[in-house]
């Protein structure tokens, strides 16, 4: 739920940036054609990029404070979102006849494929949204429904909506310029953070930490601790603002034998929630082990 809060803040930020800039071009997508009637109701790629740069800064701040999971949340959200737009721009360029094979055309970019980009952070609505947009601009009005629907119910879906349909009408040169600018943002994000991707199939509900916790539960019951650990880690990346996500993450890390990571999460969780009883119990558990061992020696 706090992600929705962030989404609200981001919406405000977009609005503020728009007001401050008083730049008609930015309102209508930077270099896009002013006379283009397709321009939507308030979503410009210039504002989008500014917001993602701001989120990346949150990642830098939390990283400096040693809050690895929080910094991963910010970095990965910005990374998945920017990579999604960049991949959408590349696809439109290819649809306009640029490049040879599609794989060759996107081979210079960091991440390609919606499943792969979505895994960077499942809570970003942009991979689903742009996937739907690309289907819509190709006239696949039925196929676009599923990804559109999923993105619209995500907590991070901006309240004022998304409208990047104008990308279809942008000049090729402007699209290349936009792609290069997005690649620069990706470079700044991924030089600070390297996503750990598994290549798992994309379950469209992975954006929901409660769903992921439920999957962790099922996996633990089935003694599939590696899967439980994966789901718990995704939940932490989706929403690190709820203590139960940390409880689940620490517990699944313990189940998977990832004790060092469990300890790191206990420490980081307690930094955020110093009075949380369950995290305090986890800490006490480690000290009990240590004290017991010292008593024996």
């Amino acid at each position: 739920m706090p992600k929705r809060l962030l989404a609200f803040v981001l919406s405000l930020l977009i609005f503020s940036l728009t007001l401050v800039s008083c730049d008609i071009e930015s309102l209508f997508g930077g270099n896009q054609n002013r006379n283009d009637e397709i321009v939507g109701d308030g979503t410009s790629y210039t504002d989008f990029m500014n917001v993602m740069r701001e989120i990346k800064k949150y990642g830098d701040i939390t990283s400096e404070k040693g809050l690895t999971s929080f910094s991963e949340y910010y970095y990965s959200f910005a990374g998945a979102s920017v990579s999604a737009l960049r991949y959408a721009v590349e696809t439109i360029l290819w649809l306009k006849g640029e490049g040879g094979s599609f794989d060759d055309f996107v081979s210079d970019s960091r991440y390609a494929g919606w499943d792969r980009i979505a895994e960077i952070n499942y809570s970003s609505p942009y991979p689903s949204y742009f996937e739907g947009l690309l289907l819509e601009v190709q006239g696949k009005s039925e196929e676009c429904l599923d990804p559109y629907a999923v993105s619209s119910i995500m907590p991070m879906f901006p309240e004022e909506g998304l409208d990047f349909y104008y990308l279809k009408k942008m000049d090729v040169s402007a699209l290349y310029e936009l792609r290069d600018e997005l690649r620069e943002i990706e470079d700044s994000i991924y030089s600070a953070y390297s996503p750990s991707l598994t290549g798992r199939d994309w379950d469209r509900l992975y954006f929901d930490p409660e769903y992921l916790i439920a999957l962790s539960y099922e996996s633990v019951e089935a003694a599939d601790y590696d899967s439980a650990f994966f789901y718990a880690r995704q939940a932490l990346k989706d929403d690190p603002f709820e203590p139960v996500v940390w409880h689940n993450a620490v517990m699944c890390a313990l189940c998977a034998g990832e004790f060092a990571l469990a300890g790191q999460w206990v420490d980081e969780g307690l930094a955020a929630f110093p009075d949380d009883e369950q995290l305090t119990d986890f800490r006490q558990m480690f000290f009990n082990i240590l004290n017991d061992k010292e008593g024996q020696s």
Partner: protein, 468 residues
């Protein structure tokens, strides 16, 4: 019967698991701090002024004549753990914090993981979880998981999770559908899709529905909470670092690089020739410190060393005093008559104690390999000597005993000086007719102290071994 067998087999399995745990846990939980003086849970890496165990040391030798003493060149840089821990406790008290508030477990957990890697993980995991303060006897990892994450052991917890927010999700979709423009399109699409087969789960588990405005406020509060919590921890470590740095600075004001000779490690003995008699044994003990004037390893050192000498075994002298360089010419007169022989030789143990001190200065120009700086000064300039020697000897000449005549000489030798001995003699000669002739003498004879104080008289040779 089947039930009894099942319970028995379960108990057997539990016993086996317990025995494995008892073997595994002591090893997997073997957290070894970098230094046993560390306070468990304190992240010493966050204190910028580090400890280095208190000092760094290099062997040093000081050669005084034939005697070699062992010392060390040591530097107390950084802080000892005792000093740093004192700062940590004081900072906790000053900031009204507890050790629990600051404790971290990262290093303990990492150690548990490295040890656990050698064992059957399931057993180790259950062993680790058994340390959780849960007042229940749980049977499996899954039980622990449910208890910890969901707070209950009821299997229905799963369905409870999945059924959450159904109404809120539907309301969110409807709300999105009422919006205009492209947003409205997406919302309308979503509301249509919600009824399609396969996407019901998407809608049912959606979490949209709470107020954005309320959420914004909560988000800001959370950010502030996080900042405040981190600020407490950061402030603690920052203050510890500042105080540690200040203490180091204060210590730098003192002289922290020294050459030290520990008295307990520098007792030596040496043989010497005294008054011309060889084979006597002396002991010597060196102690003291030379301190760097520049607070750095390289530079000028000066200080006072104490040297104590003591006679250990002067029996060669005591048994052969008549052969000493000072009086042997006199005694030889006795023996020149041919018939004299010593019939008695007694006296107390020779006492020789020397306490000496001197100021030495040297300049250490390098910290590599073997360094032999030029040493200025002497240890023999200021010394107190205590010496006591006394013997009583009797000689008798029975050459003419067959004729009823004999001669006898008694000599008493005393000295409190290393350079001389006083000897008083009384000689008598008896003839066969009962006549008697006697003669007395009393005189101080110079003696050669030889090399009895050689360590004091030798030029000190200092060697520092950086490569040892």
């Amino acid at each position: 019967m089947r039930k009894i067998c099942r319970i028995a087999s379960w108990l057997l399995a539990a016993c086996l698991a317990l025995s494995v745990l008892l073997l595994a846990l002591p090893v997997k939980a073997d957290y070894v701090p970098k230094n046993m003086a560390e306070i468990i849970g304190i992240d010493y890496d966050r204190i910028t002024q580090k400890t280095f165990g208190g000092k760094k040391s290099y062997p040093v030798e000081l050669k005084l004549g034939s005697v070699t003493f062992s010392g060390e060149l040591y530097g107390e840089y950084g802080l000892s753990y005792e000093e740093l821990n004192q700062i940590i406790y004081q900072t906790l008290a000053d900031k009204n914090l507890t050790i629990d508030r600051i404790q971290t477990v990262g290093k303990i957990a990492a150690q548990v993981e490295s040890e656990a890697a050698r064992y059957w993980t399931d057993q180790v995991v259950e062993g680790v979880l058994s340390y959780l303060p849960i007042p229940l006897s749980l049977n499996s990892v899954g039980d622990y998981y449910v208890k910890v994450v969901h707070g209950e052991t009821d299997p229905a917890v799963k369905s409870a999770i999945f059924s959450a927010s159904k109404k809120a999700a539907n309301a969110a979709i409807q709300r999105a559908a009422r919006l205009g423009g492209k947003v409205g399109l997406v919302g309308r699409v979503a509301s249509r899709v919600a009824s399609l087969p396969g996407l019901g789960a998407v809608v049912n588990t959606a979490m949209v529905g709470s107020s954005w405005m309320d959420g914004s406020e909560r988000f800001n509060k959370f950010q502030k909470l996080l900042e405040d919590n981190l600020a407490v921890i950061n402030d603690f470590y920052s203050t510890c670092s500042q105080r540690a740095a200040k203490l180091v600075e204060d210590k730098d004001g003192q002289n922290t690089w020294k050459v030290r000779f520990d008295k307990r490690k520098n007792y030596r003995t040496y043989n010497c020739t005294f008054w011309g008699i060889s084979g006597n044994m002396m002991s010597c003990t060196l102690s003291g410190e030379l301190t760097s004037r520049d607070n750095e390893m390289i530079g000028s050192y000066t200080g006072t060393l104490w040297l104590e000498l003591e006679a250990v075994d002067f029996s060669p002298l005591e048994a052969n005093v008549e052969k000493t360089s000072g009086i042997s010419p006199v005694i030889s007169v006795l023996y020149s008559t041919g018939g004299y022989r010593k019939t008695s030789d007694s006296g107390s143990k020779t006492v020789l104690k020397v306490e000496s001190q001197g100021t030495l200065t040297f300049y250490l120009s390098s910290s590599e390999g073997t360094v032999r700086p030029n040493v200025v000064g002497s240890l023999g300039a200021d010394k107190e000597v205590e010496f006591s020697f006394n013997r009583h000897l009797v000689w008798r000449d029975d050459t003419w005993a067959a004729y009823g005549s004999y001669g006898e000489t008694e000599a008493t030798l005393n000295s409190t000086s290393l350079n001389s001995v006083h000897m008083s003699t009384f000689s008598r000669a008896y003839n066969n007719k009962g006549g008697e002739e006697s003669r007395q003498s009393s005189e101080t004879y110079p003696q050669d102290p030889g090399n009895v104080l050689s360590p004091l008289e030798s030029d000190p040779v200092l060697t520092v071994y950086f490569s040892k």
